[in-house]
């Protein structure tokens, strides 16, 4: 009796640990595969990871869009767009307040949290003006399966007049978005894309390649050939992040910058260790980040090691802008326009008014330079560290408290 009890207990414990360990490691390995699984992932394998995400054509387009002229009022960048194909929405023109159903990928990073607040404040305006009756939100918590179920729930039981979808991943969400389109109701996709153009409008800032070009060009201009850059990337396999790195890597290569990339999962502990190890193994001249979350930890690694600050690109997150000012390092804050969270609801307003909307609604995406930094620091004084300077909600009700007390 006891023999079996003990033996089973020991074996079970060991087995379970190993299983959990395996589960833990597959988690972080599987995620990117899922989100990048565009059918060709089988033959793409691990070594040619790059090619899966790299499209020279898209890079070219985004490079041009960086200097494109945007239609609309500059003081309302969330309504600006690059001239192109428009969707006729006259069939949707109708009276009355509409119910919007929003399938959100997650609010698990400060960028999404800031944007979601802005969206809710915009909702308030549209509710007051009688355009929207209510917005039902389902949060997929970064899980494809959950979001598919969320979208199907909206289709079958949501009683929705319009769908707003911020996809968790590109390929996996495509069929669900197509099902939403089949209902014949307006479908608005924003932030990450899907592989179908059935949506009424797809709203996004210029994109990851533009980010990669802006940042890597800045570092290359401020560094010498042969200088060493540490690239801190959150995780592999997410297209909006992969494209940032793909473009940056190309620019670094062209300019003879030695760039080494590491995955951090935005964990400040890991960021600090990676940067510290890099400093210990030789001089680090530049830091490139695919998102600013954790930028402060990277800078602190230089302080703790007692070496000169690097040339660095972070993001328009307040923590980075503040640390940037405090340290006086040479830096740039690229922007993945957070104000895009307002646009989907404003698109709903236009669609039910029968006004045409851009088929692909490309919003401006302009980095914050050192000269502009002070202006944005003052405009966002008192905002929490996880706030984004270009959140674009200054004219909405609840400003600034709604963003301050989160």
């Amino acid at each position: 009796m006891r023999i079996t009890h003990r033996a089973v207990k020991g074996a079970l414990a060991t087995a379970a640990t190993v299983v959990l360990l395996a589960g833990c490691s597959t988690d972080s390995v599987e995620e990117p595969v899922e989100s990048s699984g565009d059918g060709s992932s089988e033959e793409a394998g691990g070594s040619e990871e790059q090619s899966e995400f790299f499209s020279a054509e898209d890079l070219q387009t985004q490079d041009e869009q960086r200097s494109a002229t945007f239609e609309g009022d500059e003081s309302e960048p969330w309504l600006q767009y690059i001239d192109g194909e428009m969707t006729d929405t006259s069939e949707f023109a109708s009276e009355g307040a509409k119910k919007v159903c929003f399938a959100n990928a997650s609010i698990s990073n400060p960028w999404r949290q800031t944007g979601f607040i802005t969206m809710n404040q915009q909702l308030e305006v549209l509710q007051d003006s009688g355009v929207i009756s209510e917005m039902e939100v389902r949060d997929a918590q970064d899980t494809d399966e959950t979001q598919i179920a969320d979208i199907d729930y909206f289709i079958n039981e949501g009683n929705c007049d319009a769908f707003v979808i911020s996809p968790n991943s590109t390929a996996a969400m495509t069929p669900a978005v197509e099902r939403a389109c089949e209902t014949g109701k307006p479908v608005i996709v924003f932030d990450r894309g899907v592989e179908t153009d059935c949506a009424t409008t797809f709203i996004h800032p210029i994109g990851g390649y533009a980010w990669g070009l802006d940042t890597a060009e800045f570092l290359s201009e401020n560094l010498e050939e042969g200088d060493r850059v540490i690239a801190l990337r959150i995780l592999p396999g997410v297209d909006v992040l992969e494209t940032r790195w793909a473009a940056a890597e190309q620019v670094f290569e062209e300019n003879g910058i030695e760039a080494e990339d590491f995955f951090t999962e935005a964990d400040p502990t890991r960021i600090k260790q990676i940067v510290t190890d890099a400093i210990n193994s030789g001089e680090v001249n530049g830091i490139w980040m695919d998102a600013g979350d954790g930028a402060v930890a990277a800078i602190e690694a230089f302080e703790d090691a007692g070496v000169d600050y690097p040339v660095m690109t972070g993001e328009d997150e307040m923590s980075f802008l503040r640390k940037w000012e405090e340290t006086g390092l040479t830096g740039l804050a690229p922007v993945y326009s957070n104000f895009q969270w307002r646009t989907p609801l404003l698109a709903v307003e236009k669609i039910f008014a029968g006004e045409e909307v851009p088929k692909e609604w490309v919003l401006p995406q302009t980095p914050i330079t050192e000269d502009e930094r002070q202006e944005f620091l003052e405009a966002n004084e008192g905002m929490p560290d996880g706030h984004y300077a270009k959140f674009g909600g200054e004219d909405l009700p609840g400003y600034p408290d709604a963003w301050m007390d989160r």
């Binding site: 006891r2 023999i3 003990r6 033996a7 207990k9 020991g10 074996a11 079970l12 414990a13 060991t14 379970a16 640990t17 190993v18 959990l20 360990l21 395996a22 833990c24 490691s25 972080s28 390995v29 997650s106 609010i107 698990s108 990073n109 400060p110 999404r112 949290q113 592999p236 590491f262 995955f263 999962e265 935005a266 964990d267 400040p268 502990t269 960021i271 600090k272 260790q273 990676i274 510290t276 190890d277 210990n280 193994s281 030789g282 979350d293 954790g294 402060v296 930890a297 602190e300 703790d304 090691a305 923590s319 929490p384 560290d385 996880g386 989160r406």
Partner: protein, 382 residues
């Protein structure tokens, strides 16, 4: 409590676990002079890990000469302190035959408490610290009582605790970073004593690690420590001996979550507030403990070997980075280590144990033997 240092006659396994006992058959690791004891000790997994640490250190210094700088070394010790402390906490639980999977979630919880409760007010540091230790103790008590008195396997209890705390942290933070606490508080994990000769700086985290290590080594020599090991080795014998198993194990869980709390305090200082701080620490700690030669299922191991295991693991990762192995392999390496270490430990411990058949204790054992065949039990579980 009055724990029996050596279990009474009738319990050979308990006897063996209580390492102080010397009136029975010879234990190779405990006989001979100091030199011989050290050399025998080094071939046990618990001793070999120190050799491993030394070898890895030399390997890193060869690949990266900058690492020979005492300042760089001490900073490395400083940043490994949280994981070493977590490993010692996990040791208590594992050696008593249980698991604590809630460690990383406890760290994340404490990090978030530090960010939200202490914030930018220096005056809230002490109340904040107090709150963190109270929360840590409470979590350990729940883990311990649920797995002992309610008899829910600790694997499940701490898994549940992990999920509950992770959910709570997610709810409070939404999964994103919040503001860092005041620099004065962060100094515990970030700063140190400046101007120390040779080292330049002596990080506070190294001081904390030294204190925790010394206290742990002392605690494991106390009756509590010996009872704990006995609890993992042969819980039945221990309860026959009249020790309250539930209380011994519950205290191990409390020590574990308190270690996670200390690790959390150091990590907030080192890195700042983010819900992912501490992520994966439960497995890193278990790997470190196993690498330190502690037998899963309990009953054997040395607390400082667990800390050394943490250093060996971090040095190994550092070496892999220095050799240009991508960090994405980290989990795989950790997985292989845990399997290899368990397999190796099972083999090598038998070499230093009391010879199998020559057991005067067994012959001297009163009637308990037939119904309590602990000898074959401990053989059977490997």
């Amino acid at each position: 409590m009055s724990a029996p240092t050596a279990s009474p006659a009738g319990s050979p396994a308990g006897e063996r676990a209580a390492t102080g006992a010397d009136r029975s058959g010879t234990v190779p690791a405990h006989s001979g002079g100091l030199g011989r004891r050290i050399s025998v000790g080094l071939v046990t997994p618990g001793g070999a890990v120190f050799v491993l640490v030394a070898l890895l250190l030399v390997a890193i210094m060869l690949t990266n000469p900058n690492f020979t700088d005492p300042g760089a070394l001490i900073r490395f010790v400083g940043r490994t302190a949280p994981i070493a402390i977590a490993a010692m906490g996990q040791f208590y639980v594992i050696v008593s035959g249980e698991f604590d999977l809630s460690m990383a979630a406890v760290i994340a919880t404490q990090v978030v408490i530090a960010g939200n409760v202490i914030g930018l007010e220096d005056s809230r540091i002490l109340p904040g610290l107090l709150l963190m230790f109270v929360v840590g103790t409470a979590i350990g008590l729940v883990n311990g009582l649920a797995s002992t008195l309610l008899r829910v396997p600790s694997f499940i209890v701490t898994l549940g605790m992990m999920l509950a705390l992770t959910g709570l942290v997610r709810y409070v933070t939404g999964g994103a970073a919040t503001g860092n606490p005041t620099e004065t508080f962060r100094d515990i994990g970030r700063g140190g004593i400046e101007g120390v000769p040779v080292l330049e700086i002596l990080p506070w985290s190294v001081v904390v690690l030294a204190v925790v290590a010394a206290a742990s080594a002392w605690l494991m020599r106390r009756p509590f420590g010996r009872t704990l090991v006995a609890a993992g080795d042969n819980p039945d014998a221990l309860s026959h001996a009249g020790a309250s198993l539930w209380w011994v194990k519950t205290r191990a869980f409390v020590l574990s979550s308190l270690s996670a709390t200390v690790a959390g305090i150091l990590l907030v200082g080192y890195a700042g507030v983010h819900p992912s701080v501490g992520a994966g620490y439960e497995f890193t700690a278990i790997t470190a403990v196993v690498l330190g030669g502690v037998v899963l299922g309990g009953g054997r191991g040395w607390v400082l070997s667990a800390a050394a295991g943490a250093f060996a693991l971090e040095l190994l990762f550092l070496l892999l980075t220095a050799l240009g192995v991508e960090a994405t392999w980290r989990d795989t390496v950790q997985g292989l280590i845990i399997i290899a270490a368990v397999a190796l430990a099972a083999r090598t411990w038998s070499g230093v144990r009391r010879p199998r058949a020559s057991s005067p204790v067994v012959t001297a054992t009163p009637p308990a033997t037939p119904e309590n065949p602990t000898k074959s039990t401990t053989e059977g579980d490997r």
